[in-house]
């Protein structure tokens, strides 16, 4: 498919599949609004469909009817392979050149030197915890969510932790094993041979005994921290920010094992009906203002360096707090494939999917 040659008039409409919290029009907090102005400026009316997991995003895009998707690394190449998204003409996006160099040619949206979208924001999967349960002794390791232990408040962590309800969470277990079982020889948490994979699943089976309910939806996780006595879980900075704003005793850290993370790309559907509006939106999202606002709201890092300075909501320390400088420590989500780079044969994603359902089901 050939990318768009030149920009025309807006079609008046734009529909986007996005992670919750990615596209705000001031309904939750009126300070966070990067849609209203865009609509006024371009006449493109934005509608958003949120998706809680990457798989859901892929499914929605396969089904069609959307223009854009904010795909994470574990979804983006699948979309490219499935020809669900089209290459973009960077020349039609004036702000392309302002993009952080680390992101400009990132492998999750570039295939054979062709770009399939504009970087949106990126961030780590942090360890969120309840400060009262940890009584001033913040956790240092992911072990609080993988192994049974007594927390500083004197009670066991059993039933009080959560884990992400997506197969990609297997990578978190692999990441933990990378640090704690070096003998397995894991080099990349997304590239696991049978033995490594089995060890990760075993670890997840232990975790199953500790988890009451897996988290699937950011808002429900917030609810569970408030009402279900959950005190620690892998999470997104988004939830941390929201709860802190509500004055909940919540904090987060990047544990010593490092973290997995996401770097998301705004990708254009192969059969988009509103490509002009879509290009306008991509351009819009690359403005330092929007980049800064999204980063502040979601607890993410901008893909445009300029956003780190002078954004009211993000503040000048924002980027540092959200880990802008830890880019290299984050193992970004990507889709596990059989033909992997670090070793001869890896367990492919479809097995992650079915086995993770099995683990949660108690197998």
């Amino acid at each position: 498919q050939e990318p768009l040659k030149e920009l025309g008039k807006g079609e008046g409409q734009l529909s986007i599949v996005a992670w919750p919290g990615y596209i705000e029009r001031g309904e939750t907090d009126k300070n966070y609004d990067w849609v209203t102005e865009f609509e006024k400026k371009t006449g493109c009316k934005v509608s958003v469909k949120t998706a809680a997991t990457s798989d859901e995003m892929v499914a929605l895009m396969n089904e069609g009817g959307f223009d854009l998707v904010t795909a994470s690394g574990d979804a983006s190449l699948r979309l490219v392979a499935g020809k669900r998204v089209q290459p973009i003409n960077t020349a039609l996006i004036p702000s392309w050149k302002t993009i952080d160099e680390r992101m400009q040619n990132a492998p999750w949206h570039t295939a054979n030197d062709v770009h399939y979208g504009t970087p949106y924001v990126w961030g780590p999967n942090v360890l969120m915890y309840n400060t009262e349960a940890f009584k001033g002794q913040p956790p240092k390791s992911w072990n609080v969510v993988f192994e049974e232990m007594t927390l500083p408040d004197g009670k066991s962590n059993k039933g009080r932790i959560q884990a992400y309800d997506g197969p990609i969470h297997v990578a978190d277990a692999a990441n933990y094993l990378m640090a704690h079982k070096p003998e397995l020889g894991i080099k990349d948490p997304y590239e696991l041979n049978e033995d490594q994979y089995k060890a990760a699943l075993d670890l997840l089976r232990v975790q199953r005994t500790l988890v009451g309910r897996y988290w699937h939806d950011a808002m429900i996780q917030i609810d569970d921290f408030k009402n279900e006595g959950v005190v620690a879980s892998g999470s997104w900075p988004f939830q941390v920010n929201l709860m802190q704003a509500e004055k909940q005793p919540i904090s987060s850290i990047i544990p010593e094992e490092g973290v997995t993370g996401w770097a998301d790309t705004t990708m254009l559907h192969a059969e988009s009906e509103h490509p002009n509006c879509a290009y306008m939106w991509m351009e819009h999202t690359l403005s330092p203002k929007v980049q800064g606002d999204v980063s502040a709201w979601f607890g993410a890092n901008p893909s445009v360096g300029a956003a780190c300075k002078g954004n009211e909501l993000l503040t000048d320390q924002g980027c540092a707090t959200n880990g802008y400088n830890d880019f290299d420590k984050v193992k970004f989500w990507k889709t596990p494939v059989a033909k992997c780079a670090s070793q001869s044969e890896c367990v492919p994603y479809h097995r992650w999917v079915s086995d993770y359902i099995g683990v949660i089901g108690g197998r």
Binding site: K49, G65, I220, N227
Partner: protein
């Protein structure tokens, strides 16, 4: 039944029935209670304070009105379609004899006896195969499919009660088929159709699962509620809406009861 006036229910039965009813209703009272709470972000128990402000807030929220209007429209049209199809089917099954008559009742029951998710997915994939875009009409189609059975059940039960000789009497007295329908059949099944229609409306009005699969971007009241419950802005507004729906539907339910009371029970109601 004649001596039952003098019979008293055994105490154990009374207690069991009362406990069952309490189980059914206490959570609903809770829903009502939270329509008045002053806390808007979480459902704190007991509520920190009580207020009636949410009624005004709900009244002024355009999204509430949009969802409500859509739901009413969908339910109304689905009910109308179910009324026509259900009545035709009931008339055919109860007034004539044909091969496969038994199968028809099975076919009519199927969309409600199969879990909604199956109906939903089946229709959804059929729509996308036939390249029908999701719209208001795809929702209506999905709803009408499982509403037919309620109308059908009510109508069949009533047809069974109209003695066959009533229709023959009309023909005998010189009324042709259409006159007989107009002057005898319709007046006699009217209340049953009304009751069936109301139940169909209620079913459609509260259907989430089938709607989830047959709606595009439209948001009916239950879809709106799902969104609100997962991503709350002003939580009590959802309760206000739920409460008002219950209260507003109170009278029609009572009406349906009195309309069909001395006839067949409105059995299988509200499926």
């Amino acid at each position: 039944m004649r001596s039952e006036k003098t019979n008293r229910a055994p105490l154990g039965l009374k207690i069991a029935a009362a406990a069952g009813l309490a189980f059914m209703h206490l959570p609903i009272l809770l829903i009502f209670l939270y329509a008045f709470t002053t806390e808007e972000k979480t459902y704190q128990f007991p509520p920190p304070g009580l207020t009636t402000q949410w009624f005004a807030v709900a009244w002024n929220r355009p999204d509430v009105w949009a969802a409500l209007t859509l739901s009413v429209k969908v339910a109304a049209i689905a009910t109308a379609a179910a009324l026509v199809l259900g009545t035709l089917c009931a008339a055919a099954v109860s007034q004539t004899r044909f091969f496969g008559r038994e199968t028809v009742s099975l076919l009519v029951i199927l969309p409600i006896a199969l879990p909604g998710i199956i109906t939903g997915i089946a229709l959804r994939s059929a729509f996308s195969m036939a390249d029908i875009p999701f719209s208001f009409w795809t929702i209506v189609l999905g709803h009408a499919t499982f509403c037919i059975v309620v109308v059908y059940n009510n109508a069949v039960a009533r047809f069974r009660r109209i003695s066959g000789s009533l229709i023959e009497a009309s023909l005998d007295l010189g009324a042709d088929g259409f006159q007989t329908f107009r002057y005898v059949i319709l007046p006699n099944i009217g209340t049953a159709l009304l009751a069936g229609g109301m139940l169909a409306f209620a079913l459609s009005f509260d259907e989430v699962i089938v709607t989830t699969f047959t709606a595009g971007q439209q948001s009916t009241l239950p879809i709106w509620m799902l969104e609100e419950l997962i991503r709350p802005r002003q939580r009590p507004v959802t309760n206000v809406v739920a409460m008002i729906v219950v209260i507003v539907t109170f009278l029609p339910i009572l009406g349906a009861y009195y309309l069909t009371r001395d006839g067949d029970q409105i059995a299988g109601a509200g499926k």
